[in-house]
Point group: C2
């Protein structure tokens, strides 16, 4: 298969981990006779430094022309505590999602037996946890109209959803549940929000066309508890943009390391794959960042093109590296390996 | 001291746990020569059944006339999965908060050594956790304008904040931090929301008048992780309404039992005290509900009137009951006690 892959390494540790993912994808291409072409483009704080724009037109064009996008991370602390900054790295990511119509963010959550002791949660609570979060990604309060009054005395953000926005991701989530354990949990705040009531109404409607899937509802506050109290109860979680942001980061603590969690953002025309960890600026340039999340994101990319065996090969290699303790300091306090060495081990193993 | 206390037992297990709290308050009144007068009023699903209104005018009047309010719980499953219900029990609670101006919801989070093993989190992670969440309670997306289009094709909720709404709770939170470990963490989503940027701007401004308090910022998604990754880092958490709803329920898992967590909702004229657990309809009438959260809410009520010794007496009694395993089934799988018996033990002990 020929694939054109746009590479958006971004900020902080993004470039280092993306480099390892490319190494691994090249090893896969060689082993299975595929041709993967990579085109690099800039995004985030580094793009602001270079061009003043967190998502330069050229980057958007490269992404639009690509079959898929591999994304590193964005964000720089110099923007975080400045409420007056007019341009922010995050705007690049948000605009990318919106422009490419990447409406479904998919985050799988599983545990690795060899790492189960790393989690702050007790082993018996998390062992065999296996769920996936479907987070709506191009609407809700992220993209509704925002206002700040001239006198600086008030501000507002609108959360808005249409039936179409709810339906398209709901169908994806139900389809996923159908080939998993057939349970879908809609997380909302229908006892307070009008948008949540619309979600509940539509999802109940759509559920009728997936009669084998068992639909449950959970208020977001309760969901935030249940993810820690009993994570094994979940199969597919479906939720809106802001709640999904919070819950998927919360759920990452189950695994014991955010350095292991991959995600896909799916649209009707293209798809983007990215580790869920941030730009981790403290680790930048130190060759200590965990590349596994980026590498597992590359595996999700292969899955997306139905290269299931290839994706599985990556996952097996990752499991091996964890088993053998060939891992970065976040997973390995004694005899640890560098970002580059973990990437080398995996590409050699493949 | 003479206190007029409005009792709003509400739904589910509310009446059973409030009864025990009253028992304990009566024991305190006797021991310390106070006079507590209780006036009962209905709220929630039970008020809808009786009057069609989740917050009857009479209830509101009783609350407005009282020195403080002791609240049980509201909610009934018959309303949860009905997106078309025009009247909901939760409206009673929201209207009560708004009408009485209860703008600050305060939820302390500590652990009990004797119960530390009950938590899903590892003992070493949670031992000595001690923080308090200040959640804004009368504004934000809960109370902004809501719309559902006539054709049912879209819906919206507005999140709005004014400087006054931010300032009054920020001052309370800084004052609390000043007499605690002098750290305040503002949780927001300033990289996306205009309202969060207003919060950040105001809180930074107000921080200047509390120079001894160390102010930190955390994005809400990161906060949802940090609460589990390292709960001991927190002293006072300040946040807006919706984020506070999610994070305070999430934080409840630290304690090992939601049946232990109390809260206060403070306004400029009155204050309300309530356990954070819900109406737990499955347990209703079975005399198995844990009354400790309601009883510890009564202790917060006494604190509010500066009856510190009295409040401490309740807390000591609660600790004793936990030490002696005189607790309900949620805390005690073998030789457990009924709701009533726990209340009796505590009032006798006092
Ligand atoms: C960087 C930020 C805007 C983004 C979000 O909130 O969506 C991030 O937290 C994420 O989840 O991808
Ligand atoms: C019942 C509900 C409306 C309420 C809220 O969301 O505020 C509850 O979850 C709470 O936290 O007191």
């Amino acid at each position: 298969m020929n694939l054109n892959i746009a590479l958006l390494p971004g900020d902080g540790i993004g470039p280092e981990v993306i480099q390892q993912a490319v190494k691994v994808l090249n090893a896969i291409a060689e082993k299975y006779n595929h041709s993967f072409e990579f085109k690099k483009a800039s995004v985030g704080a580094i793009a602001i430094d270079e061009t003043g724009n967190p998502l330069p037109d050229e980057t958007l064009q490269i992404c639009a022309d690509a079959d898929a996008i591999l994304f590193g991370a964005i964000g720089d602390p110099k923007y975080d505590n400045n409420p007056n900054a007019k341009v922010r790295p995050e705007q690049g990511l948000l605009k990318l999602r919106k422009s490419l119509g990447l409406f479904a963010n998919i985050r799988p959550l599983t545990t690795y037996d060899a790492l189960i002791h790393k989690s702050n949660l007790k082993a018996e609570v998390i062992k065999d946890t296996n769920f996936v979060i479907y987070r709506e990604l191009t609407s809700g309060i992220y993209f509704g109209e925002k206002q700040a009054s001239e006198d600086g005395n008030e501000a507002s953000d609108i959360c808005k959803y249409t039936v179409e926005e709810i339906d398209r991701i709901a169908h994806l989530a139900f389809k996923a549940a159908q080939v998993r354990r057939k349970k879908l949990t809609l997380v909302d705040k229908a006892n307070v929000l009008e948008t949540s009531r619309l979600w509940r109404k539509r999802v109940a409607e759509i559920a009728k066309t997936y009669p084998k899937v068992n639909l449950e509802y959970l208020f977001v506050d309760n969901a935030a508890m249940q993810i820690i109290l009993n994570p094994k109860q979940f199969d597919v979680i479906l939720t809106e943009n802001m709640f999904g942001d919070i819950l998927s980061d919360e759920a990452s603590v189950i695994s014991g390391s955010i350095g292991l969690l991959a995600s896909a953002s799916i649209g009707s025309h293209t798809a983007m794959f990215e580790p869920i960890h941030g730009s981790y600026p403290q680790a930048k340039g130190k060759n200590i960042a965990n590349p596994l999340a980026a590498i597992l994101s590359a595996a999700m990319l292969l899955d997306h093109f139905e290269l299931y065996e290839e994706a599985e090969t990556i996952r097996t290699a990752v499991e091996k590296s964890i088993e053998l303790n060939i891992t970065t300091p976040d997973l390995n306090s004694t005899n640890h390996f560098s970002t580059t060495n973990v990437g080398n081990f995996l590409s050699d193993f493949i």
